[in-house]
């Protein structure tokens, strides 16, 4: 059993391959998380314009991309667009798919955050002479983010986990590298090792989250 799933020789051989994959996973996350946050922020700020002709299309946009499995979006971009003469490459496809998908999730969270800030805050800020945009940036957003921090973190955890989808479009991230190593060595140890790396990397965040969430629900 140990020879099969935790073979030390194979572990040694696979280590550099997986390390390169880990580097790419981190890199991908560092690109994709801010991208989703920017998309989400734009959506949330637009949603604070309380006009029905802004609100409804926005809601439809968000629900549309929340209903779409991210892998379907990714495959559509990667395998579908080339037929229209648009070859984007794995990295660009992952970025666009994540921007659309995680942007919708972040947008929904930030919108809830903005709505949780009492309107008196906006009124007070506006009456001191701050512009609409300044009010949003300096007064509303800082409080909004604090109110929905657990949800933001939880979504970020999901985004980092989702980078493993990159393996489907041949991005050399952690899972892809592990599968390469596994098919080279005919041994599942690299996959086990990849799983351990994911776990060690994300466990602190999971611990923190479950504390925050328990507290939030208990407060009701």
């Amino acid at each position: 059993m140990l020879q099969t799933f935790f073979n030390l020789d194979i572990l040694k051989a696979a280590w550099p391959i997986l390390l390169a994959g880990l580097g790419n996973t981190v890199l991908l996350s560092v690109v994709v998380v801010p991208l989703g946050l920017i998309g989400g922020l734009a959506l949330a700020m637009l949603a604070s314009v309380r006009k029905p002709w802004v609100r409804w299309p926005l809601m439809a946009w968000v629900d549309f991309f929340r209903a779409f499995p991210p892998l379907v979006l990714l495959i559509f971009l990667f395998a579908g667009l080339p037929f229209a003469g648009l070859e984007l490459g794995g990295f660009a496809c992952v970025c666009i798919a994540f921007f659309l998908n995680t942007g919708a999730y972040y947008g929904e969270i930030l919108r809830a955050g903005i709505e949780s800030v009492p309107s008196g805050q906006t009124e007070a800020a506006r009456s001191t002479g701050l512009g609409r945009f300044q009010t949003m940036i300096y007064v509303v957003l800082p409080q909004a983010v604090r109110n929905v921090l657990p949800d933001l973190l939880s979504n970020t955890l999901e985004v980092v986990k989702l980078t493993s989808l990159g393996s489907v479009v041949a991005m050399p991230e952690l899972l892809f590298q592990a599968r390469q190593a596994q098919s080279l060595t005919y041994n599942p140890t690299p996959i086990v090792l990849a799983a351990i790396i994911y776990f060690i990397m994300l466990w602190p965040l999971v611990r923190l989250l479950s504390r925050l969430e328990n507290r939030a629900l208990a407060r009701g």
Binding site: M1, F68, L71, V72, V168, A195, R207, L217
Partner: protein, 226 residues
């Protein structure tokens, strides 16, 4: 041919769509079957773990917390790949369908256990004490007093989480499950036209868009009650 015509011809080719509609419809059935199985087994397992945890046996609770953390931290695709490509090394060869079902069940179990547990702990201690003092047993208190109140709180987060994890059925395509995405992808390579993918995308929207809207409605409804 204008650009628009070419676009329609490429992504909304009626002939190709008609030809592969039965395939996509079959894929839809597989997706629904997989999703239903995952939802039932994942939620039941999650609730069972939360109930076990409320029993308060410390070594068992540490184990439960570890398992839950493990499946919250691992990407679902990694679990699927491990089960499908790793287990055959010890002469266990689960099919792609079983691998996907098992993986998503474990993930949903972990997330729902967290939510159920948060719901149970949010019920005030006085409720327990009052119920026990009227002569109800531990089990009766849990089932008739605590759970009904706890479950109400958990419904909105649970619905959204369940939808998000159920969407993971698309991952099955990586291990050759013939669900919507898998059927659509192979239709694309057979017909050399991406219209089946468009059709697949529509199929996903038909399945999941109502669920997402329902989740949103639940959230606002519950928020008013507070």
């Amino acid at each position: 041919m204008s650009n628009w015509d070419r676009f329609v011809e490429t992504f909304f080719n009626a002939k190709v769509m008609a030809r592969y509609l039965p395939d996509i419809a079959y894929g839809m059935l597989v997706t629904i079957e997989l999703a239903a199985l995952v939802i039932v087994s994942g939620l039941v397992a999650g609730l069972a773990l939360a109930l076990l945890r409320s029993w308060g046996f410390r070594p068992l609770n540490l184990l439960i917390v570890f398992v839950v953390d493990l499946f919250r931290a691992l990407p679902p695709l990694v679990i699927i790949v491990f089960i499908y490509f790793g287990l055959p090394a010890v002469d266990l060869s689960p099919s792609g369908f079983v691998s996907t079902w098992l993986s998503l069940t474990l993930v949903l179990m972990a997330f729902s256990e967290e939510i159920f547990w948060a719901g149970i702990t949010s019920i005030a201690k006085g409720q327990w004490e009052a119920a026990r003092s009227t002569g109800l047993t531990y089990g009766q208190t849990l089932m008739n007093v605590v759970l009904p109140q706890a479950l109400r709180l958990t419904i909105p987060p649970l619905t959204n989480r369940t939808i998000a994890i159920t969407k993971g059925t698309a991952l099955g395509t990586v291990v050759a499950v013939s669900e919507i995405l898998g059927m659509a992808s192979s239709a694309v390579s057979n017909s050399y036209n991406p219209s089946p993918l468009t059709l697949g995308a529509i199929a996903y929207l038909i399945l999941f868009f109502p669920m997402v809207v329902f989740g949103r409605w639940l959230e606002t409804r519950m928020a008013w009650k507070r």
